[in-house]
Subunit: 479 residues, 2 copies
């Protein structure tokens, strides 16, 4: 395999990451402290080798073989995670293990953290965390729309071939689609920041939380996460933008053109909306209101559940104290996720939807053995190659969670900590369950090896698992 | 739907159960105590309505429509569970909830128990528990070989069409196959009892444990389960017969005719054997031997792991104290199971095998998008109707465990108790994890509703889920 194109893409990624570090450096510089120095050093560490690689491997008209895309895509995220960790090492003086965990958790929009004392931290480092998630969210969406379909991973094939509405009869060029998605992403982020500010956040907090809300990332500027701003209105604003970040951006773009009916015509969006309403109403009915009002209960339950469903991972309170129903529910809600073509991770609505349809089709077949039943979506038959890809995804995520839980157990973690860490990492949610990694906890006390494995799981989850699984076979590297 | 044939089969089931009660009655009578009375009462309660039903609904040449088989099969197990509970109510004076749980756990060969003080209990009631499992194991095997394939549930179709060896070119009549399976089952049970007795069990304990070993049930005559007889030799004998009970009986019959190479030629058996060796060696390497010998460690780890893999559920010690690796491992081992066509429950080896092959096929497809790859077993392509049935099974078991865990959580159970109870019930294993339902615990303290739900889950698991799922649809009852 020719390493030239791979190293070229790596160099471009590093240049982008290095440039990104100049933003917190500038903020630090304008703030009048010495805070900017670690960011300049990190930028130098990233940009100097990056430019060397760039100059060596730049070729006019680089051609990438589809098969190389698996390795390149994985390398891009690994390199982004590694360079993203430099500011944490140089600014916070934490170990590379912790820094890599924090960086990978950021860039994959997971949101698990090993940092304590966020409320006292300087603006540049908090901004760096938010930027990682914001860029990671956009990067994931563009990857899901532009790259993964080329190599047959992820669910966008389903929507590419079957929803012809958004294309206006002619498929727009990928670059054009990417630009429109980017513009919408920026616009949503600005709007979200403005709303947060309007509802009482400081400008800095509003900008940071907007970046980590729209990207469904979940990093906060406070150890209390959204618990710092848990007024009813604020939680609903956050809920709204987490949901928007979890909708397919192509459908959102269409809705902007033809009106909100575009949303109601999309099978996946309708299913996702229905799932949220059903789960949050059930949750509210199970919540012990005590002396609080029903509206407040509805708000708090909906906010925290939507935060998990959309794989954001903000928390407004320690929901693990709400009782057995909620602990179990929050574990399994990690395996839902937003829509395909959004910033959200995990299983995603369309996979759950098709899985339920496959189950229902199978039951119909048992009742009418001679009948012919097919799984449909958007009024068309779902191609068997899509259902088999989907089944492989379920097996892959199942095996990953099982293997990782057992490995974490072997490191001495109790079952709930091991299982929920494994689940929250591979689904890119953020908080786990239990005293250590739960909503009131922090990933810092975990052993170093556990942090590396969890960071790897975040990467696996972000790359829809199969992208990385392919790299682990001999067949990929042969021939 | 004509209820006649259904009620006829129900009556036959009740007659069989009523007759079965005469065995512990006789044992009690010969023992010279009044212990036989509750069994005679139970037999009367079962036989009198059964004979009435039988006389009313007996028809010459009863024809059963394949579609009725779903309801009839489910009814048979429910009726067996209900009538099996009578002796527990009348002899042990426990609530009907507890009695039904115990009876269902017996007849489905699960092995979870609500009874404490087994060591002090009288012989007839201990024998009744063992008989329930022994009959349940045989009943399940015959159902899997003779009935489920007719309605398209379970994996036997795969072996029926693809393994022509055991049929000697002509498919033997079902009745003949059933008779041979029954004879082998009796022979294995006798041999197992003899070995137990030879290695030091009392005759009564040997007979009871033999019945619950070969049926992969796991009921014991002691609260300590096999901890009462945890000598190295005894544990290996038990391990051997648990494995034998988990092998496909048709392949065992063939091995008796043509020699042990029949076992090595069977894909599923080879995979199952490999899985056991791999898992138990890994387990042994993770076990903290302390002052004990390696052989002892190997014995204890292998015994308890094989007991879970084969869905038997005997325990020789409280393995939940072995550390995080084992707690996680025992949770996931519940979802393995023995071979199709054996007494074992759970997912079963062939489904894991095909799932892994589907995953590997999908990865190959990603690497070579234009290649044609098929899932093979026994050197033949696995029919897509079988893979889609298998996928539906995975979704069904996943949804059942999720739903049940959340429901148990809502009743106040902690996550580990809820999750492991749900898992151990639907996989027909027996012990769960945690202080309450773990290897050292007992299901008695659970709330009544939890016991009903778990008994239902045992039934679901034993009927390969889909048999019951079909009954829950409107389409089944229409037309």
């Amino acid at each position: 395999m020719n390493p030239g194109p791979i190293l070229f893409v790596v160099s471009v990624t590093m240049i982008a990451m290095g440039d990104l570090m100049l933003i917190p450096a500038l903020v630090g510089f304008l703030g009048g402290t010495q805070d900017y120095e670690p960011f300049l050093e990190s930028a130098g560490l990233t940009l100097i080798p990056a430019l060397l690689l760039y100059l060596i491997f730049r070729r006019p008209g680089i051609a990438i073989h589809p098969r190389q895309a698996f390795l390149i895509t994985t390398m891009v995220w690994v390199v982004a995670g590694v360079s993203g960790s430099f500011p944490f090492v140089l600014h916070e003086h934490i170990s590379f293990t912790d820094a890599f965990f924090e960086s990978m958790s950021g860039i994959t929009t997971t949101g698990s953290t090993v940092l304590v004392g966020l409320d006292q931290m300087s603006h540049p480092i908090l901004l760096w965390r938010s930027l990682l998630q914001w860029v990671g969210g956009l990067g994931f969406m563009l990857m899901a729309v532009a790259i993964l379909p080329l190599v047959g991973v992820g669910g966008m094939r389903l929507f590419r071939t079957e929803s012809s509405d958004w294309s206006d009869k002619t498929l727009p060029r990928t670059r054009d689609v990417a630009a429109r998605i980017g513009a919408l992403y920026v616009a949503l982020s600005v709007l979200c920041a403005f709303c947060y500010w309007l509802f009482g956040m400081s400008a800095f907090d509003a900008i940071n939380h907007a970046m980590t809300t729209v990207s469904t990332g979940g990093y906060s500027t406070s150890d209390a996460s959204m618990g710092k701003y848990d007024a009813t209105g604020m939680l609903w604003i956050c809920t709204l933008f987490m949901v928007l970040g979890s909708l397919p951006f192509l459908v959102l773009l269409q809705a902007l053109r033809v009106g909100p009916q575009a949303l109601f015509r999309d099978d996946q969006v309708v299913f996702f909306g229905g799932m949220i309403i059903l789960v949050t109403l059930l949750g509210t009915s199970m919540y012990e209101t005590g002396s609080g009002s029903t509206v407040r209960a509805w708000t708090v339950v909906t906010f925290n559940m939507v935060s998990t469903i959309t794989t954001t991972g903000f928390v407004s309170t320690d929901y693990s104290l709400w009782g057995g129903f909620f602990v179990a529910a929050f574990l399994f809600l990690m395996f839902t996720g937003g829509c395909s073509g959004s910033t959200a991770g995990s299983v995603k609505a369309f996979r759950i939807q098709i899985a339920l349809k496959m189950l229902s089709t199978q039951i119909k077949k048992l009742i009418h053995p001679n009948g012919v039943f097919v799984v449909r979506m958007h009024d068309r038959m779902v191609d068997p190659s899509i259902t088999s890809a989907l089944v492989a995804f379920f097996f892959a995520i199942g095996l990953t969670v099982i293997g990782l839980t057992v490995a974490l157990g072997a490191m001495g973690l109790d079952l709930i900590t091991a299982l929920s860490s494994a689940a929250t990492a591979v689904t890119n949610v953020g908080p786990g369950l239990g005293d250590i990694v739960g909503p009131a906890g922090n990933f810092a006390p975990l052993p170093g090896l556990a942090k590396w494995l969890l960071a790897l799981a975040m990467l696996l989850g972000r790359l829809e698992l199969m992208t990385v699984f392919v790299l682990l076979t001999r067949a990929y590297w042969r021939g």
